[in-house]
Symmetry: C2
Subunit: 359 residues, 2 copies
């Protein structure tokens, strides 16, 4: 069941009184993002006024999570049009910005979908022969629509999945698929927030999620604000808790889901899925329909971002390891559909081939 279309507010998020990102102003406005590289130590916004700043923020994971990246990119394209007074200038700016925005990060498909959607709007606006100001207004309206849709989808995911959470259970999650990964209440965590609001009581185990610690830095931070009990564990400890029968359910987000149901998500997700299967614990993916890429048949076609050595060495305070020590730092892995019990979306809990989304 998809919730109504009214703008979500702090009430929707309970005590989660923060905004992952927000557009401030009219067509000449700027994009504020909560800088997630500084959390949980500091809650500080970055003010972005140029598209390249949005691209950098996405690449640095200052704004992150497949849905939030899609919204940020839409607004980022609006920033390209700041100060434009002529249609030609505007089209040139978009032609220059769209390719780099679209490829800011390779794995999450929401980024592609939202940039493509903004491109379509630009083409329609051009063919409608709008004036420059009207063009920019329509363009910004589309970005706002994308944000509102993201928030509706989050609520819908929560409604779809809440019934999976049993009273007194323990749910394992990985990385951050929460409010911070979206402009609403999150994906995997939206299911938890929704269940909690309905009165179900449970506890969460949050994998810390090396290398960038989205679990211990971000998921723990937002669950703590919501009042849901959370214990952080190192990624390698999950197996031990499965073995003890201490995990009843796993829910994670996904950055891209192929037509057969294979789902890319933060590195480490596949290991958990294998453990869940070995211990007969159901493993669910929670994601909006915008994270599905039904043009690709399987997860083999999902590009996996490889990130830098710094992320691995930084906790040791050494940016450069000893000469002769290598590293491998894939940012995502792909969990095969065979390991996934269901795909929790705003359209319900789906199964491949996802006819509900194709409609």
């Amino acid at each position: 069941m998809v919730a109504g279309s009214e703008q979500p507010t702090i009430q929707d998020l309970g005590s989660l009184n923060f905004r992952t990102l927000r557009w401030v102003g009219d067509v000449d406005g700027v994009l504020h993002i909560l800088d997630q590289t500084l959390l949980p130590d500091r809650e500080q916004e970055r003010v972005l006024s140029e598209p390249h700043q949005v691209i950098e923020a996405i690449q640095q994971l200052a704004v992150r999570g497949a849905p939030a990246i899609g919204v940020a990119a839409a607004y980022g394209l609006c920033l390209a049009l700041r100060g434009c007074t002529q249609l030609e200038q505007l089209q040139a700016k978009l032609a220059e910005t769209i390719p780099s925005m679209r490829t800011a990060r390779p794995t999450a498909v929401n980024l592609h979908h939202m940039v493509d959607r903004m491109s379509s709007v630009a083409m329609e606006a051009a063919s409608d022969d709008l004036g420059c100001q009207q063009f920019r207004e329509r363009f910004l309206a589309e970005a706002r629509a994308i944000e509102e849709e993201d928030q509706r989808y989050c609520r819908g995911i929560g409604e779809s999945g809440a019934g999976l959470i049993a009273e007194g259970s323990t749910i394992l999650t990985h990385c951050n698929a929460g409010a911070l990964a979206t402009t609403g209440t999150g994906t995997a965590l939206s299911v938890l927030y929704s269940a909690w609001q309905k009165g179900t009581r449970f506890t969460v185990l949050a994998d810390e999620t090396r290398p960038l610690l989205q679990g211990s830095r971000l998921t723990a931070w937002e669950l703590q604000r919501s009042g849901i009990p959370v214990d952080v564990i190192c990624d390698g400890a999950a197996g031990s808790f499965f073995q003890q029968g201490a995990i009843d359910l796993v829910i994670t987000g996904s950055d891209r889901i192929a037509a057969n149901g294979d789902a890319a998500n933060k590195i480490g997700t596949y290991s958990i899925a294998v453990l869940a299967r070995a211990h007969e614990v159901p493993f669910y993916i929670a994601a909006p329909s915008s994270s599905f890429d039904l043009d690709i048949e399987s997860g083999h076609e999902i590009p996996i971002e490889q990130r830098s050595a710094d992320e691995i060495w930084s906790p040791m305070g050494q940016k450069q390891p000893l000469e002769g020590i290598g590293y491998r730092n894939p940012a995502f892995d792909v969990t095969p559909a065979s390991h996934i019990a269901g795909w929790i979306t705003e359209l319900g809990i789906l199964q491949p081939p996802f006819e509900e989304i194709r409609r």
Copy 2:
């Protein structure tokens, strides 16, 4: 095949020109340990002259690895006798020190075995009616014998397992089961050093091993010195490399092996064993016979050390997490015998019920 009994030297370790620990002096000597909390940034020894300093060093993981802890504890008991001139005084010191040394850490059984062995020597010496000086000499001789035996066992493990390493293969290991975990060439890594010395060429993937990063700090450091190519990965990434068929063999150490073959090792080992099984990759434990605890039937009886929150939060620079955020930090997990292809010891590659050890 167990190698000869001569004292291993730097030559045995190739370019591994360090000593995990060393006794300096006669019966009034002191114990030098390489402070592993400072590696790889600094190679600095701590000089320990009191048993409580040895207990602290063990608890802080300044000296670590089941075999090395056993040797350190034996020398630690020798430190208790420094300055003793009367037998009564000496017996009182031992009675006071033995229980706290034996329980410095709960999981590795070598500590218990070596403390018990030193206790037996003390009782024998007492019944032999030795003088104080002779008693202390016999006591120190036993600690030296334990160290030499550890070094022989390391070489023996290397010899036993070297044939498992195929030319051109990739071996995954977890934590540090190397020279730094022993006073010799290590356990799991001894197998690699032995194969390398025989001319086999291969590469190693080293799990970084959160929370204390023994993989990225210690295993990478000693493999780099040995010239064996090593890539560090985050613990959660192992699944992705298994999935890609990029791992041919897994070898880890163990802190305690039960009679049925269940093996306790650093947290995260069990996850790897489950992944290895799911991908039909052989998973081996490498450990000396002194790590076997044949008095317990299964891994259920192995006590698992729970460590502090600091280890989880320290990479984020915050020693205290936000109020309301919990943590779970088990230091070890138990891999069931069903997931282990073989137990590589100085007596060969064994299978339960380990008759070779019982003899």
